[in-house]
C-alpha cells in the first residue's frame, strides 16, 4: 500500500496517525479522571471500556495508562516535526530509526495491554484497541520510512 510514497508522505502519514492516537488517548485520559460515574464505549459486558477502566491495569502508580500513551504519541509527533525541519540525526541514530524504535515500543506496550484485556480483565476497551491499531499503523509506516533511502543521498 505504501509503495511509491515519498519520505515526506510517510512522515505525514505518521504525523496524522500520531495526532489521532494522541486525541484517542487524551479522551481516554479525560474519561479516567473526570467521568468516573459514567459508562462509555460499552457495547456489552465484554466490549466494555468501563470494565477495563475499573481494572488495576488502567493506571500505573496513579498515572493513567492513557496519559502515558498521550506522551508517546506526542514524542512521535515531535520526531516527525524535526524530520520535516530537515533534521537527519539525533544522537547515535537517524531520526527514522528513532521513529521506528518509539513506534515499536508503543506497539509492544499496546500488544501487552491488549493481551491483558483479553486474558486477565476479560473485557475489551474499543478505544484502547483503536489506539493499538493506530500504533501498528505508525510502526508500519516507520518501518517503511527506515527502509526508504534519502532522495538526496549519493
Amino acid at each position: 500500500m505504501a509503495s511509491g510514497l515519498s519520505r515526506g508522505d510517510l512522515l505525514l502519514l505518521i504525523a496524522v496517525l500520531a495526532v489521532f492516537g494522541a486525541a484517542d488517548a487524551a479522551y481516554l485520559t479525560w474519561q479516567w479522571y473526570e467521568a468516573a460515574s459514567s459508562s462509555w464505549c460499552d457495547l456489552s459486558s465484554y466490549f466494555s471500556c468501563s470494565r477495563v477502566r475499573a481494572s488495576e491495569f488502567s493506571s500505573v502508580g496513579g498515572i493513567p495508562t492513557a496519559l502515558i500513551a498521550v506522551a508517546g504519541f506526542l514524542v512521535l509527533l515531535v520526531l516527525v516535526v524535526l524530520a520535516f525541519r530537515g533534521v537527519d540525526l539525533l544522537g547515535p541514530w537517524s531520526l527514522d530509526r528513532w521513529l521506528l524504535v518509539f513506534a515499536g515500543i508503543g506497539a509492544l506496550l499496546g500488544l501487552g495491554l491488549t493481551l491483558v484485556e483479553i486474558f486477565v480483565i476479560a473485557a475489551i476497551c474499543i478505544l484502547c484497541v483503536i489506539g493499538f491499531a493506530i500504533d501498528l499503523g505508525i510502526l508500519f509506516f516507520a518501518w517503511r520510512l527506515d527502509n526508504t533511502p534519502l532522495e538526496a543521498e549519493a
Binding site: M1, A2, G4, L5, S6, R7, G8, D9, L10, L11, L12, L13, V16, L17, F20, A23, D24, Y27, A36, S37, S38, S39, W40, C41, D42, L43, S45, S50, R51, R53, A54, A83, F84, R85, G86, D88, L89, P92, S94, I126, L127, I130, I134, G137, L150, E151, A152, E153, A154
Partner: protein, 236 residues
C-alpha cells in the same frame, strides 16, 4: 550539487549527506566530523539540506486524506457509540428485577406496586450519588415517605471502583441518613435492563410501575424536580 570524497571509503558523497554517510556507513571510523567539511561546505550543506526537506506528493496527500477520514469515522463511532441503548424512558413500565439487599434477603421491584416509587440506581463511590444523598434524597424521603412514596436504591456493583460491599453500602446509609432499602446489582442485570450510562440514574414510578420521571445524573432542579414529579402522581 557539490560532492566530496568520503575520507574513509573514497566514495563521492553529496556534501550535505557526508556526515550521515560517515555515521551510517563507518560508525567505527575515527573521523572528526567537524574537520571533514570546511566552513563554506558546511554552510552549503545546510542550505542543500533545507532545500531537500521531505516533500509530500499528491499520491501521499490522497493516502493521508483516506486514512484520516477512516480513522476519524472509527473514533467518532466508538466515542458516540450509536449501539449504546438509552434504556427505558418516561411512559414505559420499569423493568422488574429481584436483587439481594445490603441487609438480609432480597427485594423485588414489582412488590412495590400500588405505591409511587423513587428508584435510584447508584454507586457508593460515585461523587454525584454522594451529593444527591447529602443534599436531596433524605429531604424527599422526609417529606414524601409519609405520603405513601416508597424508596429503593440499587447499587450497581463495580460501576465506579472499588466494588461496593454490604458494609460500604450500610456505611453510606448511616453517613447520609438514607434509611431505606438498598439492593445490590452484583450480576449487572439491573444495569443492563435500564441501560445505565451514568450514576445516579433515578426513576420516579407511578403506582402501576410506569416511569413518570427520569433523571440521568443529578436531578437538575434538585429537590424541586422530585417534588414536582411526586406531587403530580399523588395528585396534590
Amino acid at each position: 550539487m557539490a560532492t566530496k570524497k568520503c575520507p574513509v571509503c573514497g566514495v563521492p558523497v553529496k556534501v550535505e549527506n557526508l556526515e550521515r554517510h560517515l555515521r551510517n556507513q563507518h560508525p567505527r571510523a575515527d573521523v572528526d566530523l567537524t574537520s571533514a567539511l570546511t566552513e563554506q561546505e558546511r554552510r552549503e550543506a545546510q542550505r542543500a539540506k533545507a532545500a531537500a526537506r521531505p516533500a509530500i506528493t499528491t499520491k501521499g496527500m490522497r493516502w493521508v486524506a483516506i486514512i484520516a477520514v477512516v480513522v476519524a469515522v472509527i473514533l467518532i463511532l466508538a466515542i458516540w457509540n450509536p449501539l449504546r441503548g438509552i434504556g427505558p424512558g418516561v411512559g414505559q413500565v420499569a423493568p422488574d428485577f429481584t436483587v439481594e439487599t445490603s441487609t438480609v434477603g432480597t427485594v423485588t421491584l414489582s412488590s412495590y406496586r400500588e405505591s409511587p416509587v423513587v428508584l435510584e440506581l447508584m454507586d457508593v463511590d460515585c461523587s454525584a450519588c454522594q451529593l444527591e444523598a447529602r443534599d436531596v434524597l433524605p429531604f424527599v424521603f422526609q417529606n414524601y415517605s409519609g405520603r405513601g412514596v416508597r424508596f429503593l436504591s440499587v447499587s450497581l456493583i463495580g460501576f465506579v471502583p472499588p466494588a461496593d460491599t454490604k458494609a460500604t453500602i450500610e456505611g453510606f446509609k448511616s453517613k447520609y441518613g438514607t434509611n431505606w432499602a438498598y439492593g445490590m446489582d452484583t450480576s449487572g442485570t439491573v444495569r443492563n435492563a435500564y441501560q445505565v450510562q451514568y450514576t445516579p440514574t433515578t426513576f420516579i414510578l407511578d403506582r402501576n410501575g410506569v416511569i413518570a420521571a427520569k433523571f440521568v445524573g443529578r436531578a437538575p432542579g434538585g429537590y424541586g424536580d422530585f417534588a414536582a414529579a411526586l406531587d403530580k402522581i399523588l395528585g396534590s
